[in-house]
């Protein structure tokens, strides 16, 4: 697919585009990364919506695990926090926090983890700790929480984030959570398996090549190569067969709008 084709597609999709927003598209793109036998360590917000969309469509056996220690949660409505009472009631099991990290995460029982971050670099390393100097911060961010060890131990890390210029520097100010470090070998040398699988932004879906470097795998209908490059701190690669991100189906949109996020807490929804 060439740039021309992408642009043509984008134009012809303008009408349908009104039917959904890029935040809805992000949720759906993330949902499609999940398989039915996955155990997924769910984050709050879009990751939670994505898991619930997947579970209600193509991945009914998806097992949702939260850092709070709830295993196999089945919340009736999306939780605000990862420790809401609706995640505990009706779960298959509730583990003390230590057991969740020790026996589930560290012991390799979790397939997928979702992470966000203030900065992501070309090797998928994530900063959610500090902008500026650690001891004299410009912005003090919340810190790792579960993120570092999620990035270490799940098979596939999914990163969901808006694509703004300051979020995609060539090097992060602080590595909170390792991606491919300085390439796939760097990660291996640390003794880590797995790694980042996809970065899902409001502009496209990105993956990692054989060197462990980020490339753009599909463009959202409303996005362009130039927009992505202009907001990225290094010369980012595009797939030879660059695709257009598949659009949400009517059912996926219905689930988000009517069941999962009726109050638009985590998605902007088209009028």
């Amino acid at each position: 697919m060439t740039t021309d084709e992408t642009e043509t597609d984008t134009e012809t999709e303008t009408a349908r585009e009104r039917a959904y927003t890029n935040s809805e598209l992000m949720v759906v793109a993330a949902a499609r990364e999940l398989e039915s036998d996955d155990s997924v360590l769910v984050g709050i917000g879009k990751p939670n919506l994505a898991c619930n969309v997947a579970k209600r469509t193509h991945a009914p056996e998806l097992r949702m695990v939260y850092e709070s220690g709830t295993i196999g949660s089945n919340p009736k409505t999306p939780p605000l926090s990862i420790g809401d009472p609706g995640l505990a009631a009706g779960a298959l099991s509730i583990e003390p926090m230590r057991n969740g990290f020790n026996y589930y995460l560290q012991a390799g029982r979790l397939d997928v983890g979702f992470l966000g971050g203030a900065q992501i670099d070309r090797y998928g390393n994530i900063n959610s700790t500090v902008i500026g100097d650690y001891d004299d911060p410009i912005v003090r961010l919340p810190g790792s929480g579960g993120a570092c060890e999620i990035a270490c131990h799940v098979d596939r890390t999914m990163i969901i984030t808006p694509h703004t210029e300051r979020r995609f520097p060539e090097e992060v100010d602080f590595i909170t959570s390792p991606g491919y470090v300085d390439g796939r070998e760097g990660r291996e040398e640390l003794g880590l398996d797995g790694g980042p699988e996809a970065v899902i932004t409001d502009l496209g879906v990105y993956r990692f090549n054989d060197d462990g470097e980020l490339y753009v795998d599909s463009l959202h209908p409303s996005a362009t190569r130039d927009e992505i490059q202009s907001k990225t701190g290094w010369e980012i690669e595009f797939a030879d067969d660059l695709q257009q991100t598949a659009e949400p189906t009517d059912e996926e949109l219905r689930l988000i709008r009517e069941e999962l996020d009726p109050e638009e807490l985590y998605t902007d929804q088209a009028e």
Partner: protein
């Protein structure tokens, strides 16, 4: 012997200026009432230890109680950042705060070491992260059996922990259900423990279901019976999380004046948790009430 007392007296006895303090609970059963009482009693120079500082530590920081925060995720869950924490960390207002930072897993492992009387606890954590460079209580350790390695954390042993549960007997044997978080480890690791519960029960109730016991009287110094003592956090089966309070905190704490006005109204302006709950009002409390859903019974058997 009954350990039941008021939160006022428990805090007055147990918490001194300069203490290291762990108010435990992962989202669930956060001891807000205890935090407010500590603010009212004007404690200062506290080391506030907690995986997730949450609103309660943001309030303690805003009130000027803190000299240090030991933590692993300092945010408002599902909402964003903790404004008072950031003002202290970025601008030194109202106090400068020292930070000691972990990941969740590292923090829990450090509490586990403290609870277990071990000099360190190994974990496969911090790998590839810049965090170990900034915390001397994290060190790399080689395996004695092969060429594998782990990181180790030093024990965390707070002077005082405040933990909550749904019910306990007068000695402090407590049943807790729902999310347990780090409650047990905090109680085990601390020197002095205040246990606060939604309701007091008989020793017989505890003994009817010993697998439900999370804290035993061995660890507990003071028992405080304080309904709604976790609001706006929650108590599984008793009341839900007041997400509105979490959502509005971003605005409430957005600047120095607004957060101080909030403290004046909701902390300094009430004598105790009972007044706080009365001020919240019946409607808000009722809105948080879940429908009833009992756990399927189990038979422990009577053996003679």
């Amino acid at each position: 012997m009954s350990k039941v007392t008021s939160m006022h007296d428990a805090v007055a006895t147990a918490v001194d200026d300069g203490d290291s303090l762990y108010l435990a609970g992962f989202t669930h059963l956060i001891p807000f009432a205890a935090g407010h009482e500590i603010i009212r009693q004007g404690r200062t120079d506290l080391e506030l230890i907690r995986a997730t500082p949450d609103l309660i530590y943001d309030q303690l920081i805003a009130a000027g109680c803190a000299r240090k925060v030991t933590f692993s995720w300092a945010g408002n869950p599902g909402v964003g950042s903790l404004p008072a924490f950031r003002r202290a960390a970025e601008e030194g207002y109202p106090t400068e705060i020292e930070l000691e930072e972990y990941t969740h897993f590292g923090m829990i492992a450090a509490l586990e070491a403290g609870a277990s009387n071990l000099p360190f606890m190994p974990l496969r954590g911090f790998i590839g992260s810049d965090l170990p460079e900034h915390n001397d209580n994290i060190a790399r350790v080689e395996s004695p059996f092969d060429d594998d390695y782990v990181y180790a954390v030093a024990p965390i042993e707070p002077d005082v922990a405040v933990v909550r549960a749904q019910r306990a007997d007068e000695d402090g044997n407590a049943h807790l259900w729902g999310i347990q978080g780090e409650v047990k480890l905090a109680a085990l690791a601390a020197d002095t423990v205040i246990l606060s519960v939604e309701e007091q029960c008989s020793e017989e109730t505890i003994r009817s279901d010993p697998n439900r016991t999370v804290i035993t009287a061995d660890e507990v110094d003071h028992v405080v019976v304080e309904p709604y003592g976790s609001h706006p956090s929650y108590a599984q089966g008793y009341y839900g999380r007041d997400n509105e309070a979490y959502l509005s905190w971003a605005e409430t704490a957005a600047d120095r004046d607004t957060v101080e006005a909030w403290l004046d109204e909701w902390v300094y302006g009430v004598d105790d948790r009972r007044e706080y709950v009365e001020k919240l009002g019946t409607e808000r409390i009722l809105d948080l009430e879940p429908e009833t859903a009992y756990a399927t019974p189990v038979n422990m058997g009577e053996y003679r």
